[in-house]
C-alpha cells in the first residue's frame, strides 16, 4: 500500500471516529430541567410543610409556571443547538428519542393522577408517585444514552435515579418526599448536564 493510500485510510478512520465520538449535546437541557424541577420540588415541599403559610392551591400555580417556562425555554434551547456538530450522531439521536418518550410517559402518568384525584376522588398523596415514575424515566434514559454515546460515567446518575425511584414509596405522603426528589434531580439532571456542557464542541458559524 502506498503512503498516499495509507494517509487516505487514516483520514477515513479519523472521520469515522469523529462521527462516532461526537459529544452529547443535551447538557443544557439537563441543566434546564434540573434547575426547574428541583426548584419546583423545593417550593412544593415548603408549601406542603407549611413553611410560608401558603395554601395548597399555590401548587397549581407553580406547576402551571413550570409548564410555561418549559414551553418557552425548550424551543430556545433546541434552537441554540442548531450549529453544534454531531447532532446526527447515534448518541444524540438516542438521547433525543429516549428522553422524549420518558417525558411523554411521565406526562401521561401525571394526567392519569390528575384524573384519578379530580374525577375519581383518589387521595392527593398519590401525586407523590409521579416522582418515582420520573426517576424510572431518568434512569432508563441516562443509562441508554450513556451506553450509546460510550459515556460509562452516565451509569452512576442512572443508578442513582433507579434507586431513588425505589425509595419514593417509603416517603409517599410526607412533604419530605419533594426534598428527596429535588436532591435526586440535582444529582441526575443538573450535575450530568454541567459535565456534558463542559465537553460540548463550539458552535460552528452560520452558513453563508
Amino acid at each position: 500500500m502506498t503512503t498516499s493510500q495509507q494517509a487516505d485510510l487514516q483520514f477515513v478512520r479519523e472521520m469515522t471516529e469523529a462521527g462516532r465520538g461526537a459529544p452529547l449535546l443535551g447538557g443544557r437541557i439537563y441543566i434546564f430541567w434540573g434547575i426547574l424541577l428541583s426548584t419546583a420540588y423545593v417550593f412544593q415541599w415548603s408549601v406542603l410543610d407549611g413553611r410560608f403559610g401558603l395554601p395548597a392551591q399555590a401548587l397549581g400555580l407553580v406547576w402551571i409556571g413550570v409548564g410555561i417556562t418549559a414551553g418557552v425555554g425548550m424551543p430556545l434551547l433546541i434552537r441554540g443547538l442548531r450549529n453544534k456538530p454531531g447532532r446526527g450522531a447515534v448518541g444524540n439521536r438516542v438521547d433525543n428519542v429516549v428522553w422524549s418518550l420518558s417525558a411523554l410517559s411521565i406526562f401521561s402518568f401525571a394526567v392519569g393522577i390528575a384524573m384519578a384525584t379530580a374525577v375519581f376522588g383518589k387521595p392527593a398523596w398519590i401525586w407523590d408517585f409521579v416522582i418515582a415514575v420520573g426517576f424510572v424515566g431518568y434512569g432508563v434514559s441516562l443509562f441508554t444514552t450513556g451506553e450509546m454515546a460510550g459515556l460509562k460515567w452516565m451509569r452512576i446518575p442512572s443508578f442513582i435515579a433507579v434507586i431513588g425511584a425505589g425509595c419514593v414509596p417509603a416517603l409517599v405522603g410526607q412533604p419530605e418526599v419533594y426534598l428527596f426528589g429535588a436532591t435526586i434531580i440535582i444529582a441526575t439532571a443538573l450535575v450530568p448536564g454541567i459535565i456534558l456542557v463542559a465537553g460540548e464542541p463550539k458552535s460552528l458559524p452560520d452558513e453563508s
Binding site: L9, R13, M15, G19, R20, N83, P85, G88, D206, S208
Partner: protein, 104 residues
C-alpha cells in the same frame, strides 16, 4: 491475511476519492449533518465540498436539504440507504488490501 484478492474494479468510483470517502465515513456515524459541520470535519473549502457532495447526491448516496432556521440558510446532508449499502460494499472491497480487516 485474507485469501481474497484485491480487485480495484470493485471500488465504487462515486465514493473513491479522499474527500468523498471522508464524507461517507462521517455520515455513516453521524447522519444527518450540516454543510458547515462537514466542512469543519473534513477541512475542505466550501466550493470543493459542494462539488463532491453533488457527485454523491447524483449517485443517490446522500440527500441535501436546503432550509432556513430563522433567516439563516441551513443545508442538511443525510446518508441514504443506498449510500450506506454502497459504503459497506466499498469497505468490503478494501478488505483484501487491508489484510482481511475492513476499515471501521
Amino acid at each position: 491475511m485474507s485469501d481474497e484478492e484485491f480487485d480495484a474494479g470493485r471500488l465504487d468510483e462515486a465514493i473513491h476519492g479522499r474527500l468523498r470517502l471522508g464524507i461517507m465515513a462521517y455520515l455513516s456515524q453521524a447522519s444527518p449533518a450540516t454543510f458547515n459541520e462537514l466542512k469543519e470535519m473534513t477541512g475542505a473549502t466550501g466550493g470543493n465540498l459542494s462539488t463532491h457532495l453533488r457527485k454523491l447526491e447524483d449517485s443517490g448516496y446522500i440527500t441535501q436539504t436546503k432550509s432556513f432556521e430563522g433567516r439563516k440558510p441551513l443545508t442538511t446532508i443525510a446518508l441514504t440507504d443506498a449510500g450506506r449499502t454502497a459504503f459497506t460494499s466499498y469497505l468490503e472491497a478494501l478488505r483484501p488490501l487491508l489484510g482481511g480487516q475492513a476499515a471501521e
